[in-house]
């Protein structure tokens, strides 16, 4: 059986070093690859909110999955929202193949603080792992340290670990094995 990868797809302008560092961490979950798309998703822009609808971008990403793709996570610098939420750090197809993560509100600069790339990668890995968890059918977790715990602000992201709790890890591994075995 052909080997399958988790793809990280840069959408618009994303610093390559950030993605490369994130991939190093995410490879402990599953083998990863990076692809790039320099175009901005203007079709998803909502002028009234000056933000981009995450779901519209995800719908477009689903149409262009590489053949050896297990899951694909879009990573972008633009600010994301949904019709009902003022912003999202990330969005995923629950039990699906595609997720999307925004770096916009993960940067220290967003909070008028000096840039910190190490912290940015740490946050990106957490949000990517969280959204990946949803793609594998995981709900939010009550354990505040688990990466699947719901975080509605940046402090919430910083206070949880980048790993799954025992229960979520067990579920994730079973699903991961099942999907890889076809």
């Amino acid at each position: 059986m052909a080997k399958k990868y988790i793809y990280l797809k840069a959408i618009g302008s994303v610093e390559p070093s950030i993605l490369e560092d994130a991939v190093k961490s995410l490879s402990s979950i599953s083998p990863c690859r990076i692809i790039k798309d320099h175009e901005y998703p203007l079709f998803a822009f909502e002028p009234k909110r000056n933000q981009y609808y995450a779901r519209k971008i995800i719908e477009r990403l689903v149409c262009g999955l590489p053949p050896d793709c297990e899951k694909l996570i879009g990573v972008t610098d633009i600010d994301l929202c949904t019709p009902v939420l003022t912003f999202v750090y990330g969005e995923a197809q629950f039990d699906g193949r595609v997720a999307l993560v925004s770096l916009n509100r993960l940067r220290q600069e967003y909070y008028d603080l000096p840039s910190n790339n190490e912290l940015l990668v740490e946050r990106l890995v957490k949000v990517c792992t969280h959204e990946l968890g949803h793609c594998y059918g995981l709900f939010h977790c009550n354990d505040p340290k688990c990466v699947m715990h719901l975080s509605n602000n940046i402090l919430g992201i910083d206070s949880k670990k980048r790993t799954f709790c025992v229960r979520c890890a067990d579920f994730f591994n079973k699903r991961n094995r099942k999907e890889n075995c076809g």
């Binding site: 909110r49 779901r55 929202c81 949904t82 019709p83 009902v84 939420l85 003022t86 912003f87 999202v88 995923a92 629950f94 949803h134 709900f139 939010h140 719901l150 509605n152 602000n153």
Partner: protein
């Protein structure tokens, strides 16, 4: 514990799907409908933990939906959402009973806190209702009153069998307190924190018994407008008490036997087998062994139910308990009636002791209730006891000693029925038995209205 259920009503598809997806990631069970009428229908059909209702909708607006939902389920919290917030609509929503009013799009932090708080509040409300129900039914050992040897033997037996998982068959005449014994077993068992669900098999018409025990799916038969959990499912993790088990049809006997063997069942009209963990206690006033020999009761079901047998003595077999029981009922009913009563006269007590009590403790309870209501002195007198009682026992109309108990019972039942123009409800109350038992006795003695 099952997932919390949230109902969303919004006419915009994108809003429905976006909010549903987000709540599902949080582990909620979500149903989204596009108009208020459908939402009202869903609230009528099922129990929900929270409803999120859009304010502006074409067919029926959110405030009208809120009012209708509040009438159907007053305790269900409703959050009104809108993209066009005004102070007037916010005030109106809260005045109409909305739990909260939130403007779209939501700040994720704000909506998360609101929903989590309301769902938790709803869980506590439901838990409180359940605990109150349980508390009101909670068994007190003093409910089983009696100091005689027969009663003490019974209490010891209850204490011995309660902690086990075994199925129990309680035998005893009508009115002896078989349900009290079943409750005592449940409340002394490790399942005491879980439900005790009783099903009076003889009182439920045969056509409804299957649905009542096993539940049904929506559309399983005419009138099944929503899914209904049966007594077996409701008793999961607790105890199921099947009263008057000798009165069930042969078809229900087969269904019950299959359930007891496999410990799983399907709702009527349902395809998915449901597994439950319940302890079964059955009770009967009939001679099941005799019914088996007449092929009226399945032998295999009898042996499944009769793992442990408990016999509840009739009041005739524990006459020494009559004074303590009579005084207990006098205190209870005088308190209920707001009357000061100090006791029962010697003559009245003698009459109580000499009576045969075919309806057992239940009949004694009814007799004392009657006496407390009519008494105009501080003590219950013989004249205060029910009329049937006085004419039979104290006017020297006692049956001849050559007559069997069955003959006496037959004559007595006929007399009560004739006196009350065969009014079954009234006669059953006077005899201290339920209507099903009276019908069975009429059939047994082949009594007819002349």
């Amino acid at each position: 514990m099952g997932r919390n259920k949230i109902l969303i009503v919004d006419d915009e598809e994108i809003m429905r799907s976006s909010l549903s997806d987000w709540l599902r990631e949080d582990g909620y069970y979500v149903l989204a409908v596009e108009d208020g009428y459908k939402a009202i229908e869903k609230v009528e059909e099922e129990d929900w933990d929270l409803a999120i209702v859009d304010l502006k909708m074409p067919k029926i607006d959110g405030l009208e939906v809120l009012k209708k939902i509040s009438k159907i389920r007053p305790k269900l919290p409703v959050v009104i959402i809108t993209a066009y917030a005004t102070v007037d609509t916010a005030v109106m929503a809260i005045k109409s009973g909305a739990a909260d009013y939130i403007v779209k799009p939501f700040n994720p932090e704000e909506i998360s806190v609101v929903i989590a708080k309301l769902v938790e509040h709803q869980r506590l409300v439901k838990e409180n209702i359940q605990l109150r129900k349980e508390l009101s039914k909670r068994f007190k050992f003093q409910d089983l009153i009696g100091k005689g040897a027969n009663m003490q033997k019974l209490i010891e037996m209850i204490k011995t069998v309660a902690p086990t998982k075994s199925t129990i068959l309680i035998k005893g005449e009508s009115g002896t307190g078989k349900e009290l014994v079943a409750r005592a077993i449940h409340d002394l068992s490790p399942r005491k924190k879980f439900p005790f669900v009783a099903a009076a098999c003889g009182a439920i018409p045969e056509s409804l018994l299957e649905a009542e025990l096993f539940g049904y799916e929506k559309g399983a038969f005419t009138g099944a407008v929503s899914q209904h959990k049966g007594r077996i499912e409701l008793a999961d993790t607790g105890t199921l008490f099947l009263d008057e088990i000798g009165d069930i049809s042969s078809k229900t006997q087969v269904d019950l036997l299959r359930f007891i063997q496999e410990r799983e069942f399907r709702r009527v009209g349902g395809k998915i087998p449901i597994k439950v963990d319940i302890r079964i206690i059955a009770a009967t006033n009939k001679n099941l062994e005799e019914m088996i020999s007449k092929e009226e009761f399945r032998e295999d079901l009898y042996y499944r139910l009769n793992v442990i047998t408990i016999e509840v003595p009739s009041l005739r077999e524990r006459k020494e308990d009559i004074p303590i029981l009579a005084n207990h009922f006098m205190e209870k009913f005088s308190l209920d009636a707001g009357k000061k009563m100090y006791g029962i006269s010697d003559q009245a007590m003698r009459a109580l002791m000499e009576f045969s009590w075919p309806g057992n403790v239940r009949q004694l309870e009814n007799a004392i209730e009657h006496a407390v209501v009519v008494a105009n002195e501080l003590e219950i007198q013989t004249k205060d006891l029910p009329k049937y009682f006085i004419t039979h026992e104290t006017e020297q109309n006692l049956p001849q000693t050559s007559q069997s108990l069955e003959e006496v019972e037959k004559k007595y039942i006929r007399r009560v029925l004739d006196t009350h123009n065969w009014n079954i409800r009234k006669s059953a109350t006077i005899l201290g038995i339920n209507r099903v038992t009276l019908y069975n006795k009429i059939k047994k003695y082949k009594l007819k209205k002349e």
